[in-house]
Symmetry: C2
Subunit: 244 residues, 2 copies
C-alpha cells in the first residue's frame, strides 16, 4: 500500500509520501511516490502517486517524455495548475485506455494522484486526481487530501490542522499523521519523502528524505507516544455508572 498526504495552506504547500510498495507480503520494495517538476522562479509542480505502480510510473513516464521531447501540452507549457491537473488526468485516462479498452477492466489498474504547485502569475493549487482521471481542488474548508492508507492518520489531521497554521506546525502535524499510520499498518513504511513549498516563492524545494535514523522524526515520534500516554493518564477516571 501507500500513504500520501498533501496540504494547501495559507502560507504554502506540504507534501509527505511513504515509499513502500508491495505485491504480496514477500514482494516489498522501496519506490519514490513524490515527484517534482519545475523551473526555478517560474513554476513548481509536485505529484504524489498511490495505487497500481505500473500505472503511476506510466503516467509519470509520459509526463517526463513529453518534456524531454518538447511535445505539447506538457507540464512546462501549461499556464495554470488547473491545466496541470487536466494534463495529469488526461494522461492517466490514456494510460488506462491503453491497458484495457473496457472501463470495467480498467479498475484493475487504477491509481490516484495528488498534484500541487504554483505557476508564475497564477494561484497556488492542490488537486486530487481520481482513478477515472477527473479531479477536485483543495479549499480553505478542506485544506488537505490523502491517498492510499488514509484512515489511521486522519484523526490527527481532522483535529489539529488549520488553514492558517504556519508551515512548520503543519509539517509536525503531518509527520504525526504518518507516525500513527506507520505504527498501525505494516504496508506503509519508511523512508518518507517530505517537501515544503512557500507560497509565491516559485522556489523548487530540495525536499527531505526521512529514514529510520532521522533524529528529528525519531524524537517527535517518541515524544508523541509520551504525550498520548500522559494525556490518557491525565483524563479523569470514568464515572461509576461506566463500571457497573
Amino acid at each position: 500500500m501507500t500513504y500520501c498526504c498533501a496540504l494547501r495552506l495559507q502560507d504554502g504547500l506540504v507534501f509527505i509520501s511513504d515509499t513502500r510498495t508491495n505485491a504480496g507480503v514477500d514482494h516489498i520494495s522501496v519506490f519514490r511516490k513524490l515527484y517534482t517538476f519545475g523551473v526555478e522562479g517560474e513554476r513548481f509542480i509536485a505529484i504524489q502517486t498511490s495505487g497500481n505502480l505500473a500505472t503511476t510510473q506510466a503516467v509519470i513516464g509520459h509526463l517526463k517524455n513529453h518534456l524531454e521531447l518538447s511535445q505539447e501540452p506538457n507540464l512546462y507549457s501549461v499556464n495554470t495548475m488547473f491545466e496541470a491537473a487536466e494534463l495529469v488526468g488526461h494522461t492517466l485516462k490514456k494510460v488506462l485506455a491503453d491497458m484495457a479498452p473496457d472501463t470495467q477492466e480498467q479498475s484493475n489498474y487504477y491509481c490516484s494522484l495528488l498534484v500541487g504547485g504554483q505557476i508564475k502569475g497564477a494561484e497556488m493549487q492542490l488537486y486530487n486526481i481520481y482513478p477515472q482521471g477527473n479531479f477536485i481542488c483543495a479549499t480553505k474548508d478542506t485544506p488537505y487530501f490523502q491517498i492510499g492508507e488514509s484512515k489511521y492518520g486522519k484523526p490527527i489531521l481532522d483535529r489539529a490542522l488549520r488553514y492558517d497554521m504556519p508551515l512548520d506546525e503543519a509539517v509536525k502535524c503531518s509527520l504525526i499523521s504518518f507516525d500513527s499510520t506507520l505504527r498501525s499498518n505494516v504496508s506503509v513504511g519508511l523512508p518518507l519523502d517530505a517537501l515544503v513549498y512557500t507560497r509565491d516563492s516559485l522556489h523548487i524545494p530540495v525536499g527531505k528524505r526521512i529514514d529510520e535514523e532521522d533524529p528529528y522524526f525519531s524524537s517527535i515520534s517518541k515524544q508523541w507516544s509520551d504525550t498520548l500516554r500522559k494525556g490518557l493518564q491525565e483524563l479523569a477516571k470514568p464515572t461509576d455508572d461506566y463500571l457497573v
Copy 2:
C-alpha cells in the same frame, strides 16, 4: 457502518459499540450492537456485531430462540467460552446457508461478531468470529479485537493499551479510540454502548449508554483535543533541512 471494540485484559473485559446503521446516506438508524446473556453468579456472555444487520439479528434471534425454547446447545448450556464461540460460529454458518447455498453469494450477507465472557469454573475469554464462522482468541500479546470501521481508532490502542492496564484506564483508552473514529467517519455514530466485566466476578454488568449529552464522554473528548493540540505545539520545530 459500525465500530465495535473489545478488550480482554488481566483484570477483566471491556466492550464498546456504536449504534449507527446505514443503508445509503438517507437511511440511517440506531440499532444496538452489543448484546448480553448470562445468569448472575454463573455466567456472563457479551456479543458485539458488525456487518449485514439482517444476518446479525438472525444470529442473535436464533441464539435467543434456543434459550427461550430450551433447545440444546444454547448459551446457558455451553461449558466454556470456547463452546460459546463455536455455537455462535455454527449459528452464523446456518444463517448464511439459509440465505444462500452458494458460498460465493453468501459474502453479500457477511457479518463479524465478537464474543467474550466467562462461565463458572472456566477461563474468561474473548473471540473474534469471522464472517465464515471460524474464529480466533485474544491473547496477552493481542489483547483487543475491533470489527467494523477499525482503522481510525487503531493508533491509540496500538500505542497505549497494555494487558496489565487497570480497567478504568482501559475504558478511557477505548473511549478515545471511539472519539477519534466518530470525528473522522460519519458512518460511526453516538450513542455508544459500553460494558465492563471484572474477571471472576460472574456479575452481569448493567452497562452504560453514552449519548451526546453524556458529561464524562463530552469532557474527555474536549480535554483530548486540547491534549493533542498542546502536544503538537510542544514538539520541537522541524529542523531546517525539512523546509528547504
